[in-house]
């Protein structure tokens, strides 16, 4: 049981010149000056302003919708209701390239008859000014006849429950049957059972959804939009009934995504209005629109029943999961699958039994959110580990150490991990970094917690994920990268520039990346699933390497040496052992150009392709690979008020290879904040399906005052499938944070709050329950 890293040699430790350095990201100077144009910063001549009218009820029948008064208002150019649209549906295709798979997730574009969630769109308005569009929305008359709804997934499964749509409320189910559960429990000396609950969470990216659409002279519908997925042009075209090559998505720098801009948001509304009016149309969501307008994080109820020996070896685990999918399917089946795969946590358990289901309700629909089911799974498995340790009287870290997966071990779904598993090392380092424990002070108790995780990077292997990129070198030896990748703030574009700069021997400043345009940049796939660096980084690596090979080959001829003796750096080609034999990259490129040697390359990277898992046992490969790491915190809890202060917060993650350590640390710090909000304060509250928290006054995001200084510990096994052995950090940064905090609070007060968020009220309640009962006074 040592914390020493395994010796990883799979990716050679090349002498990196650009990669691995905390360079200033290429997008930073523009952003620091307010010069970066976000999607909402664009205007066009003759542009109209749009507004979406939403249903104020969660479950109702639309019996009348009359837009006559709105249409009559001067300056209102167009009002669209379902009656004006062909009966097409907006399908959430699995966002990506192959189109091979499609979820049955059709959603009506506008309410035709049945309202299924609070905020479902009734009508679209385009007017000369935003004020007019808003006034027109108020003039639309409608009658909603309330219908019984169902607002709890467990209720929704009971016989006689109102059906949200179709024939029953089950949206998806998964199961895992691995090993022999009964034998595992027979071997156990203790059985620990607990149920954990999580809440609806809002992404709250700072830039609300926004876009601008126009139809060009070729009848192509152009949409400039804040999105994580430009490949949605296909789903948008299908919803409009036009050919796929008649819709173009232009991204911009995205003002935060976190999964909330993974589904289609404003695109179809914009396209319909631009088509109907023949004019450019802008639709900018208000913050309130944004609270209503995209899917939330799934609330889960997760029960663990764990069999364990007295010395802390887990012999069996039985897990049930119920997720609230809300009124439409969106990505629920996949979120559920990710939760199942991560269900038992980063532990080797031979006997695993999981039953999971996602259930429709008349709550807001739920979909992708950083962590994508694995985060909810982690909230459960890491709190369960602490409960088991308490039950056995064993150190919490030691219990984990005795059960950690190692390379070669199978996870719940039967896939044997091939990359490094540095859970122990990460956990040990994060814990050590907490340093000296803060002193307790009267009612203020101090507690510590840690959580570890198993988070996939890359998409489901039977979706056959691919990514394309183009890399070229100009005559003046500057470099161009073309990639469809969207940059949602994590430095996706800058990382590509850094990879190309590394391989072509130029500085970061000499690389320009054109990205995020479905018409002109090769499709990279989505910026989701911690896949952008893995997939797109590999595509750029492939393209740049091919180009590098040609440049080096030609230089070797010039120098009269073997290509293996030539390297590129500082915009020069040179013989490694005789650096005086050297030429400017510009001159080399000139030779190539005059000889017709191809100075660009279009490459495609393919993730591992597999068939689906066995539906009865859940065994098979689901993801390309997994990342491992830990988060540790120290908290102070005021036992009188229930107030929690996070004093220390440390993330330690094996990222494989940090392309830009500053960007990696940024992910860890941001994940720490988002995870802290998840643990302590953030909750989208729906009462009978109606949203009670539609602004930042009710929905509480951590501020600078709430956050401690976060520490980041970056480990590099170079064992990942990404470029230079990289894994990923986007989702892992968040996943272990909330359970670490939950464990710390429990450690401080000696009681556990089994439901997130752990609010002061819940803490006070838990403490009160712990008090001996007294008679009334």
């Amino acid at each position: 049981m040592t914390g020493a890293p395994q010796d990883w040699t799979r990716a050679p430790n090349v002498n990196l010149r650009q990669v691995g350095k905390p360079l200033v990201r290429t997008d930073v100077p523009g952003k620091a000056q307010g010069r970066t144009r976000f999607a909402g910063d664009h205007v066009m001549p003759n542009m109209l302003h749009a507004k979406v009218l939403r249903a104020p009820k969660a479950s109702a029948r639309l019996t009348r919708l009359d837009a006559a008064k709105a249409r009559a208002l001067e300056g209102v150019v167009c009002v669209l209701t379902a009656a004006d649209l062909a009966d097409r549906r907006a399908a959430t295709d699995i966002p990506g390239q192959t189109g091979r798979k499609r979820l049955a997730t059709d959603q009506q574009i506008l309410v035709r008859e049945r309202v299924r969630y609070h905020g479902e769109p009734l009508a679209l308005i385009a007017a000369e000014t935003l004020a007019l569009a808003e006034r027109a929305a108020d003039l639309i008359e409608y009658d909603l006849e309330p219908l019984p709804g169902v607002f709890d997934p467990v209720e929704a499964l009971k016989p006689g429950a109102p059906i949200v749509q179709g024939t029953d409320n089950v949206v998806a189910t998964y199961k895992v049957r691995k090993g022999d559960l009964e034998a595992g429990f027979a071997e156990a000396e203790r059985v620990v059972e607990n149920t954990f609950r999580t809440q609806f969470v809002e992404h709250a990216f700072l830039e609300p959804e926004v876009g601008l659409a126009w139809v060009d002279e070729n009848e192509v519908i152009n949409i400039r939009v804040s999105t994580q997925v430009i490949e949605h042009f296909r789903a948008i075209a299908d919803a409009l009934g036009v050919a796929h090559n008649q819709v173009r998505i232009l991204g911009s720098m995205v003002g935060g995504g976190f999964g909330g801009k993974e589904d289609v948001t404003v695109e179809i509304y914009l396209a319909l209005l631009a088509q109907a009016t023949g004019r450019p149309v802008r639709l900018a969501y208000t913050r309130e629109d944004s609270f209503f307008g995209h899917g939330k994080r799934h609330p889960f109820v997760i029960t663990h029943r764990t069999g364990v020996t007295q010395d802390g070896r887990i012999t069996a685990v039985q897990i049930t999961m119920t997720a609230d999918a809300g009124a439409y399917v969106f990505l629920s089946p996949y979120v559920l699958l990710y939760a199942v795969v991560a269900g038992p946590g980063p532990y080797r358990i031979d006997n695993v039994h999981i039953d999971a289901r996602a259930v429709a309700t008349n709550n807001m629909y739920t979909s992708a959110f950083r962590g994508f089911g694995a985060a909810q799974a982690c909230v459960a498995h890491e709190q369960q580990m602490d409960e088991i340790a308490k039950e056995l009287g064993l150190d919490r870290l030691e219990l984990r150490r005795r059960n950690f997966l190692r390379t070669g071990d199978e996870i719940a779904t039967g896939y044997a991990i091939e990359s490094a598993v540095w859970s122990d090392d990460c956990m040990t380092k994060a814990w050590a970094a907490l340093g000296e424990r803060a002193p307790e002070d009267g009612p203020v108790k101090i507690g510590r917690g840690v959580a570890t995780y198993q988070q996939s990077y890359g998409r489901i292997t039977w979706l056959h994920d691919t990514s394309e990129a183009w890399v070229g070198v100009e005559i003046d030896a500057t470099v161009v990268v073309r990639s469809g990748v969207t940059d949602i703030g994590a430095g996706q574009v800058s990382a590509l520039a850094q990879i190309a700069a590394e391989l072509l021997g130029v500085s970061l400043g000499e690389v320009t990346v054109y990205n995020s345009d479905s018409a002109t940049t090769p499709l990279a796939g989505t910026t989701t699933a911690t896949r952008a660096l893995y997939m797109t980084g590999n595509a750029v690596h492939l393209a740049a390497e091919a180009l590098r090979g040609r440049l080096i080959g030609r230089a070797a001829e010039e120098f009269g040496v073997a290509p293996s003796e030539v390297d590129l750096a500082e915009s020069r080609a040179f013989v490694i052992d005789a650096p005086d034999k050297s030429m400017a990259l510009k001159d080399l490129v000139g030779i190539c150009a005059s000889e017709g040697i191809h100075r660009s390359e279009l490459a495609m990277f393919r993730a591992p392709f597999t068939g689906e898992i066995d539906p009865e046992t859940g065994q098979g490969r689901v993801h390309p690979d997994y990342a491992f790491g830990a988060h540790a915190v120290e908290v102070a809890v005021d036992t009188e008020t229930g107030e929690v202060t996070v004093l220390k917060s440390v993330g330690a993650h094996d990222v494989g290879q940090a392309i830009n350590p500053a960007a990696v640390a940024g992910q860890i710090e941001g994940g720490a904040a988002q995870g802290q909000g998840y643990a302590l304060s953030e909750a989208m509250i729906y009462r009978d399906g109606e949203l009670m928290t539609p602004s930042f006054s009710e929905y509480l995001i951590p501020t600078a005052m709430d956050m401690p200084r976060v520490q980041s510990i970056i480990l590099e096994s170079r064992s990942g499938l990404g470029p230079f052995g990289a894994k990923g950090i986007g989702e892992p940064a968040l996943t272990p944070v909330a359970p670490a905090i939950a464990n710390a609070v429990a450690d401080a007060i000696g009681r556990r709050v089994f439901e997130l968020p752990i609010t002061p009220e819940r803490i006070v309640m838990a403490l009160r329950e712990a008090e001996p009962r007294k008679g009334p006074r």
């Binding site: 200033v24 620091a32 000056q33 609300p208 940024g666 904040a673 006054s697 005052m705 956050m707």
Partner: protein, 155 residues
Amino acid sequence: MPTVSMTVNGQPAAGEVEGRTLLVEFLREHLRLTGTHVGCDTSQCGACVVHVNGKSVKSCTMLAAQADGAEVTTIEGLATNGELHPMQAAFKEHHGLQCGFCTPGMVMSAVDLLNTNANPSEREIREWLEGNICRCTGYNNIVKAIQAAAGQTGG
């Protein structure tokens, strides 16, 4: 419609606006200064912070008419002759941003902080930033950048 005129980033600016037009709308839509962002409808996020007569103000809480005659500075007006303002340079150097949507408001707010208190403690910086939400960075590097801009080392 009433006319408003003010000095924005050192240049005279005037326009006809409806009475209810907010300063942020005037800046973004009339003057096309899109560096100032809008992140909420309830004056909580701080993405819209600009300086009015040298003080930081959430430009979504002020009518354009109220800024009539004022000196307004936006993020676009901070750099001089292509040289980043020291606060912008510090944000750049210390990776004080990710998606960048909160950044203009953060930078404008932070500049006012140092004008008010040249040597703030970490706690004072965090308190000052309470009205500026960042969803990406966890505030670590924002605080660091401000400490660096204040000439504090070891930040």
